[in-house]
């Protein structure tokens, strides 16, 4: 009997399946990347061509900004309180107490403020946009816009993305501020750290670009959330079930994107 050459050996099924899975995942990722790039380009064209209505932008800013304020205030203060308590718990007597001030401010401004606010908006705004646009796709409203010579990107996508980019830095700024104030209160109540010492510690380690860093994150997240949610919404297929499926996928996609982008920030900006 002739010996088979090693190259002709059939690969075990799990390995083949694994490669097939990787292939599928990369195809899907590339498709989404292409779709997002194209959408961003079309939105840019709509903005440059002055085809975006100011009224829709203001309306979206109201929905994203004003209506999100309560939840942003709550998460912002909780972030400050939790960091303050956790920090106080980890401190040893060898460390000066004012370090807690620096810990709270830096954690809130660099991480908790932008990331928690973005994640809250993924649920509040991102899911809403995907479901709304998805429903418009399956009920042929997007087709109707096109049949009437209107551009859904200029009418629906652009105002949402512009509003996101403008509103998120404001919300993050507010979350940062309220988080610091709440953290300061918690530090006083749990560790007995006075406001003066807290602020002394805070300014000791404060870099002038920390706030810029926080707000840059906010702009990037503010672009990513509406862009992804609009893209996913417009790609919806099927009926009500399809809307449910894409909305879930969009929330996962946005959450992962926020966390990955957040992890990419320190190497890109902090050195």
């Amino acid at each position: 009997m002739k010996r088979q050459s090693p190259g002709a050996l059939p690969l075990p099924a799990p390995i083949v399946n694994w490669f097939a899975g990787v292939g599928r995942a990369s195809t899907v990722t590339l498709e989404h990347a292409g779709g997002l790039g194209l959408l961003a380009w079309q939105i840019l064209q709509a903005i440059v061509g002055l085809r975006v209505s100011l009224r829709s932008v203001l309306n979206q800013m109201y929905i994203m900004g004003i209506q999100s304020l309560p939840i942003v205030l709550v998460t912002g203060s909780l972030a400050g309180i939790v960091t303050s308590q956790q920090g106080g718990y980890q401190m040893t007597s060898a460390m000066p107490a004012y370090v807690l001030g620096s810990l709270v401010v830096e954690t809130v401004v660099l991480e908790m403020g932008p990331v928690l606010t973005a994640l809250v908006l993924v649920g509040r705004i991102g899911a809403r946009i995907t479901a709304e646009l998805g429903t418009m796709v399956v009920s042929e409203q997007i087709d109707a816009f096109e049949s009437l010579g209107r551009d859904p990107v200029a009418i629906l996508a652009a105002p949402r993305v512009i509003a996101g980019v403008l509103v998120l830095p404001l919300l993050v700024g507010i979350a940062d501020f309220i988080g610091i104030v709440a953290g300061m209160g918690a530090a006083y109540l749990t560790a007995g750290l006075g406001v003066d010492s807290f602020l002394y510690g805070a300014q000791l380690f404060w870099h002038s670009w920390d706030l810029l860093y926080s707000l840059t994150k906010a702009v990037v997240f503010g672009l990513a959330i509406p862009l992804i949610s609009v893209h996913m919404g417009l790609k919806t297929k099927g009926g009500a079930e399809g809307v449910g499926i894409t909305t879930t996928q969009a929330v996962m996609f946005m959450t992962l994107t926020i966390l990955i982008l957040d992890a990419m920030f320190p190497p890109l900006m902090l050195n």
Partner: protein, 255 residues
């Protein structure tokens, strides 16, 4: 004039496999066919809502799939589309929905009361009382009312070509008659070209100049209503007989 040249479209399965037909200017043309044969898909290729895999569509001399973006814009501005399920914008009230039917450039230069007048007229043409519904949202309308608002939105822009996807399905006999009168009037008085997809075969044969039948992805028949009724093709015959029987039933029910 609308000309379809060798249209192919497949989703998971082939839907259209080489459809060629021509609707003359000012003609009323009915397209019949069993459910799910691709009538709506064919209508959508006319304004680029569905891009055919192969083939081209020409509307009043403009070739849709060779002319690029400009051609698409031109065609969309002169074609009105009545969607099978109305497809009203559910965040806009009836008035704003209907006004969306006026081309953007025209709407911007139109005084608001002029736009209101046109919306009002369009709603009256489809037998709706504008006073009662202008301010309402689509979710507050019945199915038949939505459908008629959809028609009003399609005609308010004074298109030269109208594509009707089952405009009378789900309407009561009085409103069906009103919509049929409207289609006739638009083509007789304003020389609008109408392509009408309908399951109301008897109605289509009565009002249209020519009819076609789509079956399994291709045109099974194309000709005058008289030729359709007399066609020896058994599939066409089955359709004619069913339609006659249903019409008789309707007559009996209305007596």
């Amino acid at each position: 004039m609308i000309e379809y040249r060798n249209i192919h479209k497949a989703y998971d399965l082939p839907v259209l496999t080489g459809v060629s037909m021509r609707v003359e200017a000012g003609e009323m043309f009915a397209l019949f066919g069993p459910s799910g044969t691709g009538k709506s898909v064919l209508l959508k290729t006319t304004i680029g809502l569905v891009i055919p895999d192969i083939g081209d569509v020409e509307v009043d001399g403009v070739s849709l799939y060779r002319g690029g973006k400009k051609a698409l814009e031109t065609v969309r501005n002169q074609v009105g589309y009545v969607f099978q399920n109305a497809a009203l914008f559910d965040s806009l009230n009836v008035f704003d929905n209907v006004c969306m039917g006026i081309p953007e450039a025209e709407l911007e230069s139109l005084p608001r009361n002029e736009a209101a007048k046109r919306a009002w007229e369009a709603l009256e043409l489809v037998n709706l009382e504008p006073r009662d519904i202008l301010e309402r949202l689509p979710s507050e309308l019945s199915g038949g009312m939505k459908k008629r608002v959809g028609i009003a939105r399609a005609i308010v822009g004074r298109p030269e070509v109208l594509l009707w996807d089952e405009p009378t399905t789900g309407l009561d006999p009085i409103n069906t008659a009103a919509v049929e009168r409207l289609i006739k009037r638009l083509s007789h008085d304003l020389e609008v070209t109408s392509l009408l997809v309908t399951h109301d075969v008897e109605g289509g044969l009565t009002i249209c100049d020519r009819v076609a039948m789509l079956d399994s992805g291709t045109l099974r028949f194309c000709g005058t209503p008289a030729e359709f009724r007399a066609s020896p093709d058994p599939v066409v015959q089955a359709f004619v007989d069913r339609a006659a029987a249903e019409a008789a039933l309707d007559m009996a029910a209305n007596d």
